[in-house]
């Protein structure tokens, strides 16, 4: 008898939860779930604009076929963005982890250093970066990407250096591109550094004390204490970085879809492009996370 009342009380108490999430559920329906369904619908229809109203005609997977077979740029863009991801994510994670470890140490001027290194959070996520990277200003720090043309810029002309070092010119371009990208990548490390830093601060100092007593070197300490303790943060950073790279407006696929949507008002094809891309992104992220779980997490257990 008693148990039953308690169960009822619990159920009643849990029902209050609906009050807290009611507005969010309404919002999700209005601004998330229905738009998603609509967007999938758009990608399967032919949309014509007549007298200000949109007219829909169901055409099946025609848009997807057109995007894969007749669009010359789409597949290139997809390949580019996936390959950029694979080359950038390890660099971003390694770089932000190293910077976070350095910024977590005690030294004079740490506060100033920290505020400098979080600057990307303010500048890079924002519109000022768009301005700085635009072709009008030749800020010598950034690569200027104007359309499909890739121009080398950057603080250091790696192309020149590699040429002087007598590198074969065929691989020169590739190396120069990646090396000069490193400068761009530092700018995408802001939030990651913050996440790593707060992860480092939550590691209990006792663990380091124990490893010291056991006679571990700094190197071993890093691999056997720091990294395993950061495994959740690394996962979070991994996901965050991939989303950031895949969904930013700098991404070639997103940019292409956005431009045909905004400039040419082709809603059906752009929806198809984004959905096709999104499914691929999910697959890639799934594989990466699975690999991370299998290869790294298990070893650190």
């Amino acid at each position: 008898m008693k148990k039953k009342t308690k169960g009822n009380l619990d159920a009643n108490k849990n029902k209050i939860g609906y009050q807290f999430v009611a507005h969010w559920i309404l919002g999700l329906l209005m601004f998330f779930i229905i738009p998603i369904i609509d967007s999938i619908k758009y990608s399967l229809t032919n949309i014509t604009i007549a007298a200000g109203e949109l007219k829909f005609k169901f055409i099946g997977i025609e848009n997807y076929r057109q995007m894969l077979l007749s669009d010359a740029k789409y597949l290139d863009n997809v390949r580019d963005s996936v390959s950029t991801m694979f080359s950038s994510v390890p660099i971003i994670i390694a770089l932000s982890l190293i910077l976070a470890i350095v910024l977590n140490q005690k030294f004079k001027g740490r506060l100033i250093a920290r505020s400098i290194f979080f600057m990307p959070v303010i500048i890079a996520t924002g519109v000022v970066m768009v301005l700085l990277k635009s072709g009008y200003l030749r800020v010598p720090l950034f690569n200027v990407t104007s359309g499909a043309e890739y121009e080398y810029g950057g603080l250091i002309d790696f192309n020149e250096i590699l040429l002087k070092l007598n590198f074969p010119s065929s691989i020169n371009g590739l190396f120069a591109k990646y090396l000069s990208n490193v400068f761009d990548l530092i700018w995408s490390c802001g939030v990651q550094i913050i996440l790593f830093l707060s992860g480092l601060q939550s590691i209990s100092p006792q663990l380091y004390e124990v490893s010291k007593i056991e006679g571990a070197t700094k190197w071993e300490e890093f691999w056997y204490v720091t990294i395993p303790m950061l495994k959740d943060v690394i996962l979070l950073v991994l996901i965050y970085t991939m989303i950031q790279l895949f969904t930013s407006l700098d991404n070639p696929v997103v940019a292409q879809a956005y431009s045909i949507m905004k400039n040419n008002q082709i809603y059906d094809l752009s929806s198809a492009m984004l959905w096709g891309y999104f499914v691929l992104v999910m697959a890639v992220m799934g594989i990466v996370l699975l690999l991370y779980k299998q290869l790294c997490l298990k070893r650190w257990e």
């Binding site: 009050q19 969010w24 609509d38 506060l111 600057m119 959070v121 303010i122 004390e209 989303i243 984004l274």
Partner: protein, 329 residues
């Protein structure tokens, strides 16, 4: 933080006992030099654009063309700021930025907090589905759903009721919310605004780690769930609120994608900055001219200054609070 201090500090005797102390000293000097070199070189890359902006913002057009001037200008001027303010229509667009974007950012902090509390504390039916949708909400990029959302705002309806009544009365009852602040207020109020999935996630992780005993004590004393939330939970979750607040301000202030879609006039500052060169061209300047470039830098300074100042003030607390929110496990 305190405990780290205790473990790292060595008493003088301990130092003497350390047979390797001489070796270690050299190593530590070397390490600290390496650290400064490392930080300086990366810091330079990060500070470069800011220095570039500041130099050009105060530079006169003559100095821009003068090849002998690199970092230090010969004359300083405020003309660039005047031109920048004129180009972006400063008062009007700053007004939109503050009262539309920042305000909805503030609203979002609370609406997300409430939703997250519901998810973190109560075990109702369908909660698992909501958790999955939350992750999806973080993952699905805005671009994917921007067109349906646009059409949604153009013909705003409440569960199709206005449409049905409208067809019966043969009148368009559905509202056109485009170009009104409601395109930001309504989603923010319903916790589905800019980056709200991420905010709900932060709050949820924090509330999960929040000691349940406090709330139980309050509910034994007869406080309702809402009263507990506002009187007990919110006052003690300063760190989570601060973290979300700072992210929210930065992201709302910088948002140019949605305003550019949903507004056709009366753009906020971010959109104007993005289109700066087009706008300055409209005023009759060449986009490659010294005046235009310097004014663009002045506009950038004006744009990031408020956020930068806020960030500088709260920077220290910000890092501490992120580690306390428990998003990083």
């Amino acid at each position: 933080m305190k405990s780290i201090k205790i473990f790292n500090s060595k008493s003088p005797t301990a130092k003497k006992l350390d047979t390797y102390s001489a070796n270690k000293n050299t190593a530590s000097i070397f390490l600290s030099i390496a650290r400064y070199v490392f930080l300086f070189s990366f810091g330079y890359i990060l500070l470069y654009p800011l220095i570039y902006m500041i130099v050009h913002a105060f530079q006169s057009a003559d100095d821009f063309l003068d090849p002998t001037v690199q970092w230090v200008s010969k004359t300083y001027t405020f003309d660039n700021f005047k031109l920048a303010a004129k180009t972006v229509d400063l008062y009007k667009s700053a007004f939109t930025s503050i009262f539309v974007l920042l305000l909805s950012g503030l609203v979002e902090v609370f609406s997300c907090g409430i939703a997250a509390y519901g998810l973190a504390r109560f075990n109702f039916k369908g909660k698992k589905i909501l958790d999955v949708i939350l992750i999806l909400n973080i993952l699905v990029p805005t671009t994917v759903i921007i067109i349906p959302t646009y059409i949604n705002f153009r013909y705003m309806d409440i569960a199709g009721i206005l449409n049905i009544v409208g067809t019966i009365l043969k009148k368009e009852l559905r509202l056109n919310l485009l170009d009104t602040p409601f395109v930001f207020y309504v989603p923010s109020l319903l916790a589905v605004g800019i980056q709200s999935g991420f905010f709900i996630y932060i709050f949820k992780q924090f509330f999960k780690g929040f000691p349940k005993e406090l709330e139980e004590a309050a509910s034994i004393d007869g406080a309702s769930a809402w009263k507990t939330f506002f009187k007990i939970v919110i006052p003690s979750s300063g760190v989570a609120v601060l973290t979300v607040f700072i992210f929210s301000v930065i992201w709302h202030w910088n948002e140019y994608y949605r305003p550019a879609m949903f507004y056709s006039t009366n753009y906020p500052l971010a959109v104007k900055i993005k289109d700066f060169f087009t706008l300055v061209q409209g005023l009759g300047y060449n986009v490659y001219s010294a005046e235009a470039v310097n004014a663009a830098m002045a506009a950038s300074i004006m744009f990031i200054l408020p956020v930068l100042i806020m960030y500088m003030i709260m920077q220290r607390k910000f890092i501490e609070s992120i580690s306390q929110t428990g998003i990083v496990g």
